[in-house]
């Protein structure tokens, strides 16, 4: 197992490097640059800016300098647009925000999603099943960009219970709506995956055996069905967790949380090369990490899997 983990981590390095190279090239291939603006900068002014940010260097050298900065000092460079800040500072400010509402959304989505899914499968074709499926389809077709304005309309404008946005260091009033908006569609997916996987497991031979030897239904479900039914759910949860803790552009924009989610779109539109690379690497690294976690969980849950 340990060799396996070590091997996977070793592969992560070239994977990340490849990610950096491809993103870097794609980013520079897009028309315009960080200093392209409606009123074109005079050539000399542009030259001074490019010299300051090293954009006058050949592309390969920019890339080497960039990678060396990360390797030698964990330095992701300065933001080309938010010039008072470095990429490290931008991530250090925004990531804790998305990590907070993302983890809470994840917990809520898993808790409600799995519960709904399990009960829907146990009471297959009952009103409970239909309700669960109905709710999850409803949540699925209500994406966060629809949820967010509705939530603000109801809880801020009509009821005046919650502030319409902001973060204020993460006080609970400011977290409620982002969490609801972010978690619903994930919750729906988790419920549907859990339900279908659970249905399949409940019809399998080992469950029939368990029932045949007279185990109480509660034990059959908890001890024998739940664990194998979780396998497909877990492979969904790994990437979903990364997606959630790195935030959502819609949630960040609509609730003005100051989170990192908005940086994905912003940095791409602004051609803020360094920030764009920073968030890409962050998500890339987290994805690799949590795919590994998923694989480890697999081995733990399913005794048939050995690395």
């Amino acid at each position: 197992m340990l060799t396996y983990i070590a091997k996977r981590l070793a592969i992560a390095v070239p994977t990340l490097l490849l990610l950096i190279i491809i993103s870097f090239l794609l980013m520079h291939a897009a028309p315009g640059g960080p200093f392209t603006q409606e009123r074109a900068l005079p050539p000399q002014v542009l030259a001074n800016l490019e010299a300051k940010y090293g954009l006058d260097q050949p592309l390969w050298r920019q890339m080497v300098t960039y990678v060396w900065g990360i390797v030698s000092g964990f330095d992701f460079g300065p933001s080309f647009i938010y010039k008072d800040r470095t990429v490290n500072e931008i991530i250090a400010q925004g990531f804790p925000v998305t990590l907070t509402y993302g983890s809470l959304s994840f917990a809520l989505a898993v808790l409600v999603g799995v519960t709904l899914g399990v009960f829907a499968a146990i009471y297959h074709n009952s009103w409970l099943d239909y309700l669960a499926v109905g709710v999850s389809i409803g949540a699925q077709v209500l994406p966060n960009f629809v949820m967010a304005p509705i939530l603000v309309l109801v809880f801020t404008l009509w009821l005046r219970w919650l502030p319409g946005g902001g973060w204020e260091g993460g006080q609970w009033q400011y977290i409620v709506m982002p969490v609801i908006a972010l978690s619903t569609s994930f919750m729906a997916s988790i419920a549907r995956i859990t339900r279908s996987s659970m249905l399949e497991v409940l019809n399998s031979n080992h469950i029939r055996t368990a029932r045949a030897k007279g185990l109480p239904e509660r034990k059959v479900i908890l001890r024998h069905a739940l664990k194998p039914a979780m396998l497909p759910v877990i492979s969904y949860l790994g990437p979903a967790f990364v997606t959630m803790i790195t935030g959502s552009v819609v949630v960040d924009i609509y609730f003005s949380t100051g989170g990192i989610g908005k940086s994905f779109v912003d940095s791409a539109l602004n051609r803020d090369y360094a920030v764009m690379m920073g968030v890409t690497i962050l998500v890339g690294a987290l994805t690799i990490l949590f795919n590994l976690v998923v694989d480890i969980l697999y081995a733990w849950i399913d005794p048939k899997i050995r690395y």
Binding site: P31, Q37, E38, Q44, D84, A148, P149, L157, S256, L269
Partner: protein
């Protein structure tokens, strides 16, 4: 420059009263003097020489103070400078600074602070995106310094003594003093910048000379400011706690305004009539110095051949029904436009532009006639492409124009693109017709008209006219440039390198108890120190 030749020919401001927030007779101040307003985007920098955007400039005007400020209608009022003199040859300005101006750390503000800041703006090492502004101000050696051909110390600015700041410019520039209200030429504190380096703009480190100090700055969330007790006129500062909230979605911001979380917000396109009916005291529409146009690409190599023909350009412009665009699409009190300079620009006299006075039916008829003369018609339809950047309002206008042009037999393909791509294509003459807008840097017509000179860096449509260049050059030294500007506009109407569409208004919701927000200032430059809330 021979100092003996210096004559005082202009000396403003000495007799003017202080222009801080002054409640009018009959007004009672409210107990609540907090103010929360909306920012569309995060503030890119708190450094006056680095900041580039309009929203950032609003904050700069609160944290720093330049030589001059603007009053409620945009006229100059003393800031750190109380008066100035201009030499006979109109190229040396001597500004007299007040002796009681202080930085927020208690240091006196001196002429050297301006020298330092202005040199810093020009210095290639600073790499300011607004370095071009000091070139625009025509300060001696600015261009050479930016190009790295001369040392920074040769910039035409010096401190004669602590209270006297001298600026040399290369040619007379009648609106030079107006240009000093721009944030990029605000003074900065050398000691603080050298002590903290890139971190000097953080709350706690930042030292300014404006009426407010920075308390908090969370990128993408908020900026918090409070009065600066060291400010020379602090006794007249009324608002006590000011918060600027970043909300990237205009509709979300409006909802939060309606929920009472904001005191001022922009109204999203098309919603003004509804809000005006519902909140007559809060919804406002006031002129703003920006002009919305479709630019034609006249580049011989890259532009379409059809647009080389002035008859085609005129026909396209005539065929646009501006009234429909402003009344049915934008609905925010915008003015239909038949010229380039914003009509409310100070000192600008609107020329008599022929087609502005015609009815739309007459314009459309004329458009058809011109196109037929140019050889286009049902048998030989004209096909053009319009580039515009992503925005609901731009899209609606583009669709309307597509219909107007279809009416005169022109097929317009709409080409929507992301903003940076749009800009990049325009700047490389990689377009046929392109949506464009320009906002004045200062309240004077040349900020618009200079754009269409052959030597302007922003003339993306590559319109060249010797007469136009000559007029604009003459205007720099003319005692009264207004007639020259009129002639320049007339050339634009005759040659039609652009199709003017509308002139901007600022359409906002603002709490009715707020005063002093400078709504009648065409530049929409407001100063927190002038604002206050009255008791209802």
């Amino acid at each position: 420059m021979n100092k003996l030749l210096l004559t005082t020919i202009l000396s403003i401001g000495i007799a003017l009263p202080s222009i801080a927030a002054t409640p009018q007779p009959g007004e009672t101040l409210a107990e609540n003097q907090n103010y929360t307003y909306w920012l569309l985007d995060a503030i890119k920098s708190m450094d006056p020489q680095i900041n580039t955007d309009v929203e950032g400039s609003g904050i700069m005007r609160s944290l720093f103070e330049g030589l001059y400020n603007e009053d409620q209608v945009g006229s100059l009022v003393p800031g750190v400078a109380t008066s100035y003199e201009l030499s006979d040859d109109k190229t040396t300005y001597t500004f007299h600074l007040r002796d009681n101006a202080k930085w927020s750390n208690g240091d006196p503000v001196t002429a050297n602070d301006f020298v330092y800041a202005w040199k810093r703006l020009a210095d290639p090492a600073t790499a300011s995106e607004y370095a071009w502004y000091i070139e625009l101000m025509q300060i001696e050696n600015a261009s050479e310094i930016i190009a790295g051909e001369k040392p920074v110390d040769e910039l035409g600015v010096r401190a004669i003594d602590d209270q006297t700041f001298e600026v040399k410019i290369t040619a007379p520039l009648p609106y030079f003093p107006k240009m000093t209200t721009h944030a990029s030429v605000f003074p900065v504190n050398q000691k603080v910048i050298e002590a903290f380096g890139d971190k000097w703009t953080e709350p706690g480190n930042l030292v300014g000379n404006g009426a407010y100090v920075l308390k908090e700055h969370i990128l993408g969330e908020k900026v918090v400011m409070e009065p600066n007790p060291e400010y020379w006129d602090n006794e007249h500062t009324i608002l006590q706690h000011v918060t600027a909230l970043t909300i990237n979605d205009n509709d979300a911001a409006l909802t939060r305004y309606l929920a009472g979380e904001l005191d001022r917000v922009q109204i999203p396109a098309g919603q003004y009539p509804r809000l005006k009916a519902e909140y007559p005291d809060e919804a406002i529409s006031v002129p703003q110095s920006c002009s919305y146009i479709y630019m034609f690409n006249l580049d011989k190599a890259k532009g379409p051949a059809a647009l080389q023909d002035v008859r085609v350009r005129k026909a396209l412009s005539y065929a646009i029904d501006r009234d429909i665009i402003v009344n049915n699409i934008l609905q925010g009190g915008q003015a239909p436009s038949y010229n380039w300079t914003h009509a409310a620009t100070e000192g600008f006299q609107m020329p008599e532009i022929d087609y502005a006075t015609w009815s739309q039916a007459e314009r459309t008829a004329k458009a058809k006639e011109l196109l037929a003369e140019a050889g286009y018609g049902p048998d030989n339809p004209l096909n053009l492409t319009l580039n515009y950047n992503t925005s609901e309002a731009h899209k609606k206008i583009a669709i309307a124009v597509q219909q107007f042009w279809k009416g005169v037999g022109v097929n317009l393909t709409l080409n929507n693109m992301e903003w940076k791509v749009h800009t990049d294509k325009m700047q490389n003459q990689d377009f046929e017709v392109a949506r464009y807008a320009w906002c004045g840097d200062y309240n004077e017509a040349s900020t618009y008209l200079d754009l269409f000179t052959s030597y302007s860096g922003h003339n993306n449509g590559k319109f060249f006219s010797e007469d136009y260049d000559r007029l604009m050059k003459e205007s720099k030294t003319a005692a009264d440039p207004a007639p020259l500007y009129e002639q320049a506009e007339q050339i634009l109407a005759d040659e039609m390198p652009l199709a003017p569409i509308y002139q901007y208004t600022k359409v906002e919701m603002i709490k009715p108890d707020l005063r002093g927000a400078g709504l009648n200032n065409l530049m929409q430059n407001w100063y927190l120190k002038d604002m206050y809330r009255v008791a209802n």
